[in-house]
Symmetry: D2
Subunit: 327 residues, 4 copies
């Protein structure tokens, strides 16, 4: 698979680690200007991709910044020990991306459509998060020390509100002037094994056109005027990707035969795309591949994210309380 | 019952018609500066209370403006003919409160908490309304003639967002600059027979402290800078009101006996309130009286409101289409 | 308050402890044939009422049997430590009511209407319970030692199915022949302070006419042919009870005055009831008093019940796992 | 595609018309013992496949019986005129499959899992259907003339109840002894264009192993002792089918080249299956392809089915009332 396939099908590559691996595969060498680091945990692997040079950004189609991927297939199996560990890793990694005083003011934004299950992750996280902004000024000073002022918003999607999501957020940001935005969104992955098992953190915010709902405007430092960290979990794979990957696997072996390339070269260059279009009509880009248990997966994943975010933003919430909170 | 009871119990009198009737009853004469007009329909009665003088406003605890009450007990019985008629009346009355060109830009705001059934009316209406703002600029001119540009927002409540609802709305209003705001909210009534059977329209917007969720800041022309019409339906009666009304009914007959007034006058003036407090502890102001079928009632009422609002805002939606839409 | 009020208003006294206290109050002495025992815990009080004589059963309007009440106001405040303790107490008390081999076959029944929030407790518990019957025969023997074969059913209510709930359960019971039925139901209490703070266990099953939805047929050993334990939590108080209690509190002080009894005796005996009827029309028996946060309360209570039931039925689930499960 | 692919991947071919077309394609001639008839309507095409000979049944993997397919892509576009027409066609076709006196007793069964959106069609229909069995015996005779006695059950799925769905239904059937069972289920299709646009009626009931949730036991005349009609709507396509169809389309053109067959014949016969397995791991058979708007699609489809079923079972419900009901 290469990035052109995604562009041609109007599908965003939401995970930086996938964009990296695709480009790395095409280059057959390390990408200049991108730094990759990996750590293993009991139930998870953390990969940090830093895009440091404009050239790497351009090749990968992602802005310069830090992208942290937590891979933890165990959380998909309702393994609560793993879910707890992953929430803790998420809290630590999220903390590493910001540097804020304890009295900072943070706005959580739950992106996505609560009426479409696979896209409802963000609103679900917001529903499960402890907000404190309205209590904060009345709280005793010692509590203020360990709790940040947190507010939360689920702005909906264009089809429900008629308003660009970024406009709604920007309007609220101008009113409450947070020091940091943390935006949570459901993502589309390039392979089914990432569904419900991968969490991405990015200090670049949300790019225009990414996510399941194809947000048109980005939500990031440039558009919001405030540092924005995005947290995303793939909940679907576009059906076109399944079709494409199948074709590629299929060709792989065939191409080992020298005669085949002759045949293949006679095909129209649009042939593969034509096949995909015909298989997926009349839904085209709106067909998603999800596990049958998507409702469960959204529920358990939203709890992990809500737990991790709460721990990172409120240092006074200790692991014990958090465990109670998480589950 | 008098308005002091509500003040003492920190309960708002959401319906102007009830405030009117209470004050009218206390005065035992028409309220100077308030004009009342009534029309009967097959399945509904429409009462228009106009508060025209500051004195009347002060006595009734409501700002100067027009308050339209549609009383239609039949809509509570799943009578679809009545529901259709009431939606049409709502559309006509709503239209009478604004005077806007067909290309005006309207923002619907669904107030209330979608996680608390009796308070979820506003968000439900928003979920069922046709929004057009994002399509409007691409629509053919002839369609633009009959459809207004409508956007919609369900801002949530302070306990979920940590942000004053009025702040969120104001932020969005500054971005999209609507010509009119229509805010939908679940209300508390002073008698159970109004639950699910009364719709109030007010060109004064939403007053501070009204509604089930006790919104702190008003949503009206003053706070928003834009004309604001409120549509409300009572979905609860505060339990304290039930207790109070019971006491009053009880005393009514007793007081016919001259000896009784002697006994009664010996009671502490706080006695009635003490009874109410003890009966309703430990929930106090958070106890609501609702019909067992509150979920159904919210669903059917939200459809009527969504239907009526759509007809009023989009003149091109005719009755036939609307009937399909409504049900 | 006396039991006649409930009969006249067609309201069941769902909690045996309330029936006991009402009769005890009327008798002004211990009820012959009823034994009461009380234990205090950190966050809860457990009261066991044993009705051992037919006379006591007749006076209290409850069948002979054991009724365990767990009172724990702390669980209503989202106090997770208290919620955990109460789930453990529930597990222990539930275990005390049955005496079953570890390979016994248990059917959970979630009574009530999932479309009416205050009545949805039973179906919610069933949705959160670990069922094992379908896995049981394939499970390794050592696991079978600590897990019982558990199945679960949410039969709905008459208005949704057109079938008596007891008929549905009986049909399933005849097919799967459980050794024990545990039926979970939302109850109506006689005072608001019990809402969401009291759990009742009864080895007499569910009586005809009890519960919010007024089940017509009992679900008990007689009707099912299988030992049946009922677990109930009050989620509402009938509005008529609020009106009645208010009247009674009101009269209490008045009656201290000797002149008053003269006045009072001149009132029609139906006077109090007439007041209640007029205050609650047109909803009458269908008006419920609930806290505004009833949705939250149902959610957190259902988790406690599901946790306690799982611990009692599956001895292999230890406290640690259970804590993860509960929250 | 041939039927072996489905067998090898443990996927049922839920639509008889698809089984027919696959076998017809393989045979390259009409299937002996199967009769096909087609009618066109404004917004729909109705195809009746009658399997009359055991040989046809064996070839198509479907029992002898009548299978009616209503194809109506327009209902997917929220076209309410088309939805109304399709509900009327459904009512007429459903009526054609049974021959019952007006006082017959009908049990609706909503199969599937209400906690998994694409599988929740059956329970949703049941929630929206008018049940009358509990009212029937009290109804005036003239009403009984036009309304049948209808009851409804949503038995859940094995993973939620621990009980075979067929056992629950059979237990209830033995209690209430209906004259007819109508079972509604979400299906899997062989092509995405059928999602939300096709309705199948079958007088053979539900076959073992069909539906999204892979019901193990059939629900039909043999298992229930009562005539059983199944109504199904495809809401998903198995991801494996997408992969397979893509491969086939891909090969189609390649195979026009004589050299290619040589290469292809060198591939292991398991090659295609290996590709599919690797693309879809780790979810395998649990990956479904659905439109992003699956929640909307389930909602609108369930209304059409509920409307059509109500019209067929209650002749007294006329089109006007039904239109109100449907929408």
């Amino acid at each position: 698979m290469n990035l052109d396939f995604f562009k041609n099908n109007n599908i965003s590559v939401d995970l930086a680690i996938e964009a990296h691996d695709i480009v790395r595969g095409q280059l057959e060498t390390e990408i200049p200007g991108a730094v990759v680091d990996r750590h293993n945990y009991e139930n998870a692997t953390v990969t940090v991709v830093k895009i440091v040079e404009p050239q790497a950004a351009q090749m990968m189609g992602k802005p310069i910044g830090t992208y942290i991927t937590i891979d933890a297939p165990a959380i998909r199996d309702n393994n609560r020990v793993a879910q707890k560990e992953v929430a803790e890793i998420l809290a630590a990694q999220l903390s590493s991306l910001f540097n804020l005083p304890e009295n900072a003011n943070v706005l959580l934004v739950g992106l996505g459509n609560w009426q479409a299950t696979p896209d409802s992750l963000g609103p679900r996280v917001v529903d499960q998060t402890i907000v404190t902004r309205h209590l904060y000024k009345y709280a005793p000073e010692e509590l203020q020390g360990g709790m940040r002022s947190v507010s939360a918003l689920a702005p909906g999607v264009l089809g429900i509100t008629g308003i660009e999501t970024a406009e709604i957020i920007k309007g609220v940001v101008e009113k409450i002037q947070p020091d940091l935005i943390v935006a949570i969104d459901a993502l589309a992955a390039g392979s089914v094994e990432r569904i419900g098992s991968t969490i991405q953190l990015a200090d670049t915010g949300v790019s225009p056109g990414s996510g399941i709902g194809n947000k048109r405007t980005g939500i990031n430092k440039e558009t919001m005027g405030v540092k924005t960290i995005a947290i995303g979990v793939p909940t679907v794979v576009h059906a076109a990707v399944i079709a494409q990957v199948t074709s590629e696997h299929f060709l792989e072996k065939l191409q080992q035969n020298p005669m085949f390339s002759q045949i293949y070269n006679n095909l129209s260059p649009d042939y593969a795309q034509d096949v995909i279009n015909s298989v997926l009509a009349p839904f085209a880009g709106n067909l998603m591949v999800t596990p049958k248990e998507i409702d469960d997966l959204i529920l358990s994943t939203s709890k992990i994210i809500a737990g991790g975010v709460s721990m990172a933003l409120h240092p006074a919430i200790n692991a014990e309380q958090y465990s109670m909170y998480l589950n």
